[in-house]
């Protein structure tokens, strides 16, 4: 008799289960890859492209049609003028053609030499347009009664222009210039410093302040739920609302805090909190701590309340003082959640964009990497450079994530 062993491999039931699993995951996988993975690939692609905001629309030839000569009677001669212009100042448009159908009642007398009449339609072959090139095509017509009587406008039969142009997004032109410029630029070090300061100080601050708040709320008393709800306000409220209230509160001209400080004789004259060089960075970091301490306190409080009380009773009998209990019992028990929290908050603070953007717009030394993406892409209109910064952020993020996953699988067995 052979010893019984558990079955190996996938049986038909197992296969069915796996099939069902993939079926259930299918919508998520599809949607997430479309909105996350595709853009990620796109951002890598764009970061190697010399592309600006204005290049998003490929160059094309635009045409304006005008009837000259003010024809008023049957048989009058008039001129239709087509003005063509290359919309791009730099990029050429090749093999431009113009074609138009004239409305009833207009009879063509003479055509531009580049054009051929083909029944009611005429087609002009205009060749290549350089960047910013303009051309004029004129057609002489006699005006008939039908046209004058009817309310037809020339624009009712719009002229059709065709042409081929190179789309910078899809051609094979690549450059490393976006990266070179970013790493060599003077602002690189200041951006890196702002990012690191904001991330590290902000994260540690939020976790430590959250720890204090959690210690505070770890006692049972009446109205605890209310206080806990109140302390969550900064996190729950829309960032746009709280950021603007901070700006209003700290305004150097009409801000209440400055008025208060001056009145209490703490300072001589109002402080421009979000406009001075080291102070602005400190203020956005304080805002970050203020806004996210609720989150860490919620986490820590949940963990605290799951700690066994027996331990504290034992410590009481052994004569431990409150500080000793905190230092030798609570803190080691909280170390796991504190480090998970630190890592998560670190990554999220690193990724933060809205807060700084709304508070200072990245001025006065508060331009972090994420704000820099926006600055490059939209303020300077250099999409390629913005994408390069985004790629750098993604690189950092990947490194953090690998570290985090290694760590969290140890901590939580995920």
């Amino acid at each position: 008799m052979t010893p019984s062993v558990p079955p190996t491999g996938n049986g038909p039931l197992g296969k069915r289960e796996a099939r069902l699993a993939w079926l259930l995951l299918f919508p998520t996988i599809i949607s997430v890859s479309i909105v996350v993975l595709l853009p990620l690939i796109a951002i890598f692609w764009i970061s190697f492209k010399p592309i600006g905001l204005e290049d998003l629309r490929p160059p094309e030839t635009v045409v304006r049609e005008q009837l000259l000569g003010r024809p008023s009677a049957d048989g009058d001669v008039a001129t239709i003028r087509y003005r063509l212009r290359n919309s791009s100042q730099k990029k050429p448009v090749e093999d431009v053609t113009l074609s138009d159908t004239l409305p009833d009642g207009l009879v063509i007398v003479s055509l531009d030499e580049r054009c051929v009449l083909n029944g009611l339609v005429f087609v002009c072959t205009l060749g290549d347009f350089e960047g910013g090139q303009r051309e004029t095509v004129e057609v002489t017509v006699t005006v008939g009664r039908i046209f004058l009587d009817s309310s037809i406008n020339l624009s009712d039969t719009p002229a059709v222009v065709t042409g081929t142009s190179e789309n910078i997004l899809t051609n094979s032109e690549f450059t490393l210039e976006n990266f070179v410029r970013f790493f060599n630029g003077q602002e690189f070090w200041s951006v890196l410093f702002a990012t690191l300061f904001y991330t590290i100080v902000g994260t540690i601050g939020a976790v430590v302040v959250g720890l204090f708040a959690a210690l505070l709320l770890n006692n049972d008393f009446k109205g605890k739920g209310l206080i806990r709800g109140l302390y969550l306000f900064p996190y729950v409220a829309p960032v746009i609302a709280v950021a603007f209230s901070w700006v209003t509160l700290l305004d150097p001209f009409s801000g209440s805090l400055n008025a208060l400080l001056v009145q209490m004789r703490v300072v001589e004259s109002p402080i421009n909190f979000f406009g001075q060089r080291p102070l602005a960075l400190i203020m956005v970091t304080i805002f970050e701590i203020w806004r996210y301490f609720p989150l860490s306190f919620l986490f820590i409080l949940a963990r605290m309340q799951s700690i066994d009380t027996d331990m504290y009773e034992a410590a009481d009998i052994d004569g431990a003082s409150p500080f000793q209990k905190f230092w030798y019992l609570s803190l080691p028990m909280l170390l796991g959640i504190l480090s998970v929290l630190f890592l998560l908050r670190f990554i999220w603070t690193f990724n933060k964009f809205d807060d700084i953007f709304l508070l200072t717009g990245g001025s006065a030394g508060t331009r972090t990497l994420t704000v820099n993406v926006y600055e490059q892409a939209f303020a300077i209109s250099n999409i390629g450079a913005g994408a390069a910064v985004a790629v750098v952020i993604f690189g950092f993020l990947l490194a953090f994530s690998i570290f985090f996953l290694k760590f969290i699988s140890r901590e939580e067995g995920l």
């Binding site: 197992g14 913005g386 993020l397």
Partner: protein
């Protein structure tokens, strides 16, 4: 170290710190509520605190001590050196009121804080007990102040007009005689700025986001939590990683793609993009909940001949209903508060969401009180939902709040 644990010394130190904290807080409160010029006196409040602290070591009757300190404070105040200083313009009754507040909030809590101390040497426990009580009291004051003040300023500024704001930025008193005029900024926002439509857009965008997110993430979460298949761990991890990709990195290509396909400036585009940003977090939260549910019930269902889909529909979902409520609230909050995508993708005022609408008020041409009124309008609904469903919301935050 022994000398530090002298009862007199500790009582004096804690007393002066406490009194000073109270003096500052009362000065701020009085300034904010009356608009008059109050400021704390460092020296006087320190001395009064020390005196009170030392007195509590011998005498612990709360009402009598409070009244005693109040009388002393008023006398000091009338002599011109109260613990809370004010300009001559302020009436004596207001001064006296501030002094009485100061006395009560100094003496009463100090007796509780210094309860464990006694004259002469104290042991380590009593010393730490007093310090912890002091820190607790200080902590409540500190946290409540920093949390409340920005919201208070937001609300009160929205009820003012330009002239009042410039005249005295500290004056947050409400002039009730203005009647409905108090809410002028709100009327103008809803009337001229179209905030009614922004509110509606934000609401339905958020609701649609919640519905789509749940429709996608419930099956996904169930698969990850319950079914065995190759690559389950890898999938769970990649969900976490995707969840951490910053929005600003994705926003740029999305902007380009939307510009090219004409989805920019449409609510459809927003509704397409929002759920995808929330699906990973919802999936992560829900699979945690599903794992916590007893599998035996589902197995029993399977044994009795239910199909997998029927098990999910009839057993798992009803059991996970509180969790789904939490996730829905959390997703609703994310969608309601979302700013970056709305800011980048919407330019047409008729399609603004609320956050985009508020950010459009941030210009030098629009007065401050309008901006603050917009902020209040954006905050109020989420606060009402939050406070009324606090339990679900807190659960949702705790489970899912790897996100910022």
């Amino acid at each position: 170290m022994r000398k530090v644990r002298n009862g007199y010394l500790i009582a004096a130190i804690i007393g002066c710190f406490w009194a000073f904290t109270i003096a500052v807080i009362i000065a701020v409160l009085m300034s904010f509520s009356t608009g008059e010029s109050f400021r704390p006196s460092f020296l006087v409040s320190f001395l009064q605190g020390i005196a009170t602290g030392l007195t509590t070591l011998f005498y612990r009757n709360k009402p009598i001590l409070s009244v005693g300190l109040a009388v002393i404070s008023i006398i000091f105040c009338s002599l011109g050196f109260g613990s809370i200083l004010i300009d001559e313009t302020v009436s004596f009754s207001t001064q006296a009121f501030a002094s009485v507040l100061f006395a009560i909030f100094t003496a009463w809590p100090l007796i509780i804080i210094l309860n464990s101390l006694s004259p002469g040497d104290v042991d380590k426990h009593d010393f730490e007990d007093a310090v912890i009580k002091f820190l607790t009291g200080f902590g409540y004051i500190f946290f409540t102040t920093i949390v409340v003040i920005p919201f208070y300023v937001m609300l009160m500024t929205s009820l003012k007009n330009q002239q009042e704001l410039l005249q005295n930025p500290l004056d947050f008193s409400i002039d009730l005689s203005k009647g409905m005029n108090l809410f002028r900024s709100y009327f103008e926002l809803f009337g001229q700025f179209g905030f009614g439509s922004y509110l509606w857009t934000s609401f339905y965008v958020s609701v649609i986001t919640v519905v789509i997110t749940l429709a996608f993430s419930i099956p996904g979460a169930y698969a990850v939590a319950r079914l065995r298949f190759k690559g389950r761990t890898a999938f769970g991890r990649s969900v976490l990683v995707i969840y951490m990709v910053p929005m600003i990195v994705l926003a740029l290509p999305i902007y380009i793609a939307f510009s090219m396909t004409g989805l920019r400036n449409t609510v459809t585009g927003i509704v397409m993009i929002y759920p995808v940003t929330t699906i990973p977090v919802a999936l992560y939260m829900l699979q945690g909940y599903f794992r916590g549910l007893p599998y035996e019930v589902e197995e029993a269902g399977l044994m009795d001949g239910l199909s997998r889909r029927a098990v999910i529909w009839k057993i798992t979902l009803p059991l996970a209903l509180p969790a789904i409520a939490s996730v829905s609230l959390y997703v609703f909050m994310i969608a309601w508060n979302e700013f970056l995508l709305a800011f980048m993708l919407l330019d047409d005022p008729s399609k603004f969401t609320l956050t985009r609408g508020v950010s459009s008020l941030n210009s030098s041409e629009v007065p401050r009180q309008h901006l603050m009124a917009g902020a209040v309008i954006a905050t109020l609904p989420i606060m009402v939902i939050f406070l009324s469903l606090e339990r679900f919301m807190t659960n949702g935050l705790t489970a899912g709040s790897v996100k910022g």
